[in-house]
Amino acid sequence: MNMQPLKKVAVVTAAFSRPGPAQSLLDRFLAGYPRDGVFQPRLAREIALHCAGAAEEDVARRSKDFGLKMVSSMADAIHGAEGVVVFPPVSGRSAAGEDLERILDGMGAGSACLVVGQLSDRGSEAGRLAALAASRGVRLGAANLMAVTYRLPEARPTRRSRLQEALIVVQGDDDAALSDGVFGLLPDLDPAPGGDGSVRRFEHDAVWRAGAREEWSWDLLVAALSRSNNPQGDPVKDGRTQDLVGLGLVQRLAERPRAWITDHASGVRSTILALDGVVKDVNLATRDRSGTIYSAQLYQPPAPNEGACDRLAAVAEEFFRKGFLPWPARRTVESSAWAEALRMGRS
């Protein structure tokens, strides 16, 4: 798929560290990236970067080698761009609403803006931004790497009946855990998880008590953890495999476990389990009403390549060229609204 380069693409980011998704994605825009086993050429004739905190050396190298344009004015950076990628100021959290509003205001009709993260901390604000984008003829999307990365196994079974329950194991502080949890789960919750639902949050031993009451599913946790390549504890010491659930190790290894349980309006129940200290990768499992369980690892290839950025670059390119994302448009707002509800631990 060798196509003519776009006229202009811009990256707006608060951080430009290495490794880091902003730099990884920009490098792919500048020099090309592999897609379906073929190296794609540079994405656009002009590629602009707006970043207050970028190291001079990083920018200078890319300017010299690939003609990157570092633009101090955000308005100038996005002016005339057919596509803009926005990285939020706090990793895994939300785009700054004010900045995003200014970006959408400055973009031309027919262009596309991809936010790597949630649009906003608040669902209502996300909805407002989406409406603003629509009014200006700008296509707006939101996702993080969990939404696009490789799955092991790759194939998802055709559901014999409707989804009943889903569970994802993540790590990190609340913001990172919820961002990965929301974007990791949303593809499996479609069709619509339902906008209104109730959310409960548990911490420490209350997580296990909720599990004992079957508020979340141990069977799904078993399935999810069976996909992990990175169990902690004894495997770190001597490389052994272990039945983490069967041996009661999950409770012992978990550092400040947290659970967010959502009863979606559609009748689906989902659980985001933050289990730092148990595994160091992201794994999920779902069960449909026939009882069939599906599980997978959301594989995060290592730095410095951060290979999931190949998938993100492909999604961005399609979005910029053709105007569509490989998931329903409503997910753009839905991710913010759900994350807000999870943070608040309320309906």
Binding site: Q23, N229, G233, D234, P304
Partner: protein, 492 residues
Amino acid sequence: MKRDVHPKALESVLFPFERFTDHEPGRLKGAAKPSPGQRPGKQAKEGETHGGGSAIQRAGWTRRGFLTRLVGATAGGMILGASTPNGRAATVRTRRKAPRRLQVALLATEVRKHSHAQHFIDRLVEGYGWEGKHYRPGIDLVSLYVDQFPTGDLARDRSHRHGVPIYPTIAEALTRGGSKLAVDGVVIIAEHGKYPKNEKGQTLYPRYKFFKETVRIFEASGRSVPVFNDKHLSTNWAECDEMVRDARRLDFAFLAGSSLPVTWRIPSVDLPWGMELSESVCVCYGGVDSYDFHGLETAQCMSERRRGGETGIRSVWAVRGEKMWRALADREETGTLVMSALARSQTLLPPEGYTYLPPTWEHMRRTSPEAVGYFIEHNDGLRTSMFLMNGLVRDFTYAGRERRTGAVVSCQMHLPMPGHISTTADFFNPLVHHIETTVVERKPVYPPERTLLTSGMTLAAVESLHRGQVPVATPEMGVVYTVAPDSTFWRA
């Protein structure tokens, strides 16, 4: 040659760990016992994070209880079965028709953290993630032979904790202290350990020795059982060939090779069975007489699916450094497949200051100046090219070209490597699963001729380098075989 389980072994089959009958191996008396189905509130006590024990112990049976059940079962001629990888009953009929799980011996060079033997042993005794569950193998590891005990040895720990005795000789491990073969399968893991190198730089791992000792016991016992050999067969062709011929002569299932052909693939593709293939390329990393074998297995597990199947090879040319880069520059089609393979890599070393850039030939030469290439000619015209590009990549990628259309099939053979992106080397999971299937079904999941040929490729490449990077003719390597259309890599 009979393949029944010898009845003399019954007592040791039932109670091989007499010294542990009062409590589980490695477990203090009176300590809580975690069970596979344990749920919150039944946590293992401090210092008891380990599962294990024999199958009998894991099932929570006492010796008396087990005997009672056994007598009851045999009286009625019942055959009970454990679940097998393919859902069939993993039982054998002894003369007394006693049901039991199949039992294997493992012969290892050394067992330490992240040695191959550690990975295999732990999966056999602890289980592993498989198809969305923590899978407990349907076969039992019942005896060990360990050749070396380095600093950091884990063999004794595993033996004690799981009640698997370490025998002082291979013969005793296979007979379990008796006079005749007393296991249903043999797993040979002769990778890692301190062994001398020969003048060609080959590490003289005792795979052939372990195998022949196993064969000697088979012959003395008048029966044979399935054997798995990890990695390439041996360090000279005659021995490799003899091993496969022994398997045929004694009529036992022989599975061998690397985990590369059976691990995850990204994307999850196989070479279409029966495709006309003009060239297979693998780009990988590692050493000669080491990871080169993995690279060759990566290519061969695809190539063998081509139309007409495998026909053997006629020559191998191995080159290094500048000579390799010049040879590659002369082979335009190979070069395009190298780039197709690299388009599946997720570990490309970027130029300084970058996270990722598509590779250029100049960058590749600079980052991997001592790269090694093997150029292999098959008897039917297929070419296999394998490259160890140390410094450039740290993964295994494949690309193959369809002869007529030029269409390319490519993927990464995904190795979640410990110390890198993993703690447990789970690419061994499918290999251990295939070992179980081979033992239970007494039929190799894929033919040993694959590994015979890749062993030969490795040996000929070593020879080529040793002779000064000249092509080596391989008329003795006319290994002809075919594989079934079914894929055997990890995809569910």
